[in-house]
Symmetry: C4
Subunit: 277 residues, 4 copies
């Protein structure tokens, strides 16, 4: 960016375009982002309305036209984004580039496969850009604490989920044998679905044990689920606590000699080079 002056004039409008589309520092960039957010929300609302049978009957044609209008708008925006970035391919493969394509495809797909336009709502994910637009850098740092906490607990959670999945298969099979097809537990996959509904304490009630032994087993599963639900909460709480602690400690000075950071607040000497802080 800072080398952009030395480039040919036609690159200049690309830099300007990049500023408008990707940044929110200039008034134009800010205006662009706010219009974009409004368009996303409106277009998602339109798809939602179109899915309601009574509204579709009366305004179906109008809503479809509005959908197409927004899709064309977002297509143009996407092309502009590709033009303005230095490495279009790299952008296409990034998280937001991927979301952008996913947000466009459904409408085009609906020409071949009617009904797929409802996946259009995936463009709501583009709203995650909102943090940047509103200059909510503090919010971003909060989001960072959350994601780093989740990342740190990823391993513990995958151990946990693997165990739960094995458990759910075993519980489902036993329940299938205890209750049987006459009580709605008509296959092991269905029983596993029931086990998940029960262990997560969702409890729809579309399937529930009818026999005394089934109820006894279900009671056991529920009490177990009671204890199990405590585990991910405990993991995430401890990780958030440590991430918050690290964030607080990391605000202290950097070493004047080696420039390293992350010293504890009570440190007197740099822990990497041994010089006085």
């Amino acid at each position: 960016m800072n080398r952009s002056d030395s480039r040919q004039p036609d690159a200049h409008w690309r830099v300007r375009l990049h500023e408008i589309i990707f940044e929110a520092d200039t008034p134009a960039g800010r205006a662009f982002d706010i219009v974009l957010i409004g368009s996303i929300l409106l277009s998602v609302l339109v798809v939602m309305l179109e899915s309601v049978a009574s509204i579709r009957a009366s305004y179906g044609q109008v809503l479809i036209r509005i959908e197409w209008f927004f899709t064309l708008l977002f297509t143009i925006e996407y092309i502009l984004r590709l033009i303005s970035v230095r490495r279009p391919l790299r952008y296409m493969l990034s998280f937001f580039g991927f979301v952008d394509i996913l947000a466009l495809l459904p409408t085009y797909l609906s020409l071949i496969l009617p009904g797929s336009q409802y996946l259009f709502t995936i463009r709501i994910l583009r709203l995650l850009r909102v943090f940047r637009v509103l200059k909510l850098s503090e919010y971003l740092s909060e989001a960072f604490v959350l994601t780093s906490a989740l990342k740190a607990s990823q391993r513990k959670i995958s151990v946990f989920i693997l165990t739960i999945l094995s458990l759910v298969v075993v519980i489902g099979s036993i329940m299938y044998m205890v209750e049987g097809e006459e009580n709605g537990f008509d296959s092991i996959p269905t029983s596993i679905y029931w086990a998940i509904v029960t262990l997560t304490t969702v409890g729809y009630g579309d399937l529930s044990p009818q026999t005394p032994w089934g109820k006894a087993l279900a009671s056991l599963v529920m009490v177990m689920g009671y204890g199990i639900i405590a585990v991910p909460t405990g993991i995430v709480t401890v990780e958030i606590s440590q991430a918050a602690l690290k964030a607080r400690q990391a605000t202290t000075q950097s070493c004047p000699v080696c420039g390293s950071e992350g010293h504890d607040s009570d440190a007197v000497f740099c822990k990497y080079c041994g010089n006085h802080l």
Copy 2:
């Protein structure tokens, strides 16, 4: 208040009125508050009873009269409050001033719009004054720890809720396409409602997946919800922990001799040098 002696005599009863209505230090003020709490509870009970069809059929007229009695009582009390405060407008715009008006309006509104008297129950919020009345200053400080913890976690929670809302829109749309209108998922908003019912583990069961793919997707959503429910708990726990820590630290004194800190609140001597604190 302490300059009230130097003011004209007619202001004197206003000060006295203020003492009775707004404070609970004098016997009169305390009695007023207890009568008020009783009246609020009774009037809410009357509205509740009136909403039960069988009771309304037998005692409807009596209950409506009692409602009006309480509404007039609270109207007089509200006027007295406005008279006794120095800045009536400021009071009207405060939280409790707003609740006071909201607690009066429904009955008057029911003259024009029958049925709106049930909003009357909003006056239950006036009970939050109860903390002050019962001299539960410690309770207030506990409430303060809670609200400050919630305020501190506000940002993390709003990042979290925005993410959840986006997720719920996407899940709802996919489920609408997978299950379709014949299984009760008759529009995207309905499907989003289902997604919220499922992710929060409420699980009414008025809508539940019927197709194998729907059940598989729902299982995924439930396991996800399992992990997700841990996040706000983690956030709030860490904030409460830090608020509690801060509250404890604020009561601590340092030793006047050796300057050490971290003494318990009931310590008389420094635990490091043995000198009097």
Copy 3:
């Protein structure tokens, strides 16, 4: 107890009886307690079986006789307890004395009021003595950590519950007006019941919103409940954490001069009298 030698001989068997009934140090006391626990479990099981219609039809008379047998047994035991303690009245008014009476009354009451014998199951609470019998003093200390944590968080939790109750009344009233009697929300108390079922994420589904506005409001309540459920968990977690910390710290020495306890593990001087530990 240690003065029991100087008393008249007839008191001696009372001391012995006390040892057997109230303590579990001697073989006789231990045997008594184990027989007692077995009797309690058996008698609760008998009442449970008697409540099942098909079993009652076949074995009703036998089960009722067994119930009476156990009730007479527990009555004799209760009288022996009263005889063996120094202050019978004080025992009668203690927690376990109260539970003992509650465990006896239902059967006698069933002579006058048929059906009340099912309250008999309250004698399961007598099982809480099991901790003492099995010499599980560590379990008792764990129970102590739990109860002291709950006691410490009592205030925060009552502030919390009062707020929730007010909220539930307001939500219930609004829902009653939005959904109305034709959708099952037939009175404000019923709507409040729905609000509690929803906020606590139980979600029976016997009542669920039918109108779009009702569903929207319910979604809001559920997301709110999602955040709210984090609060008591946060409170209790912090209290348990502090109770555990205190329990660990409190294992250090008592002051040799003033005998006070509860010094931190790094304390050098008594924080109460200032003498060297």
Copy 4:
């Protein structure tokens, strides 16, 4: 193992077999484990498919043959395991030896007791070996933190569960008397099942209170359950936090010069005196 060279030649292939079957260091051992995991997953899938009525009707014979193929395969594998270990009996009585047998029995049992082959899915537990195979030693250490946290909180949790069970019996009995058989609460065991469904916030809705008093009591139980669910979460969180702390402290070294502790694991110099660690 390191003395295996000095043993007779026929023991050599046993050592080799042990390496392949029990270890994952050699290419052959790794390949064996991957094939094993694939076989387990496939065989569980086959049993699941066989339980679906429509699939069983068309492919029942084929699926049963595949089941028998896998069962024979696992039987051979089990025998090889027994041959290759030094102490076959000890292996048979270990956790994984027990799971291995449990995973074989159902198919053989189905010859006598049709339908029992569905217990076959218990072999999914064999997947827990996956951690070792994929060399996920860090995952194992995470699993260790989790299990040690659960073990440490075992006592608190058993005190908790015993209390809950007593509570559930009492609540169930009262509810049985309040609601009665005409509202579905047809016996005390059924009512206890309802109490567990409610307290754990599962809430199927197959049983729900119909009378006003029943609803009031249920509301109380739900609010109670709200507070109670916080307890195991709190216990587990604190234990995980302490286990994590211990894990971190165990990696810490003290400064050889000033003796201070609490250095980060990546520290090279003492942060208090500046000397090399």
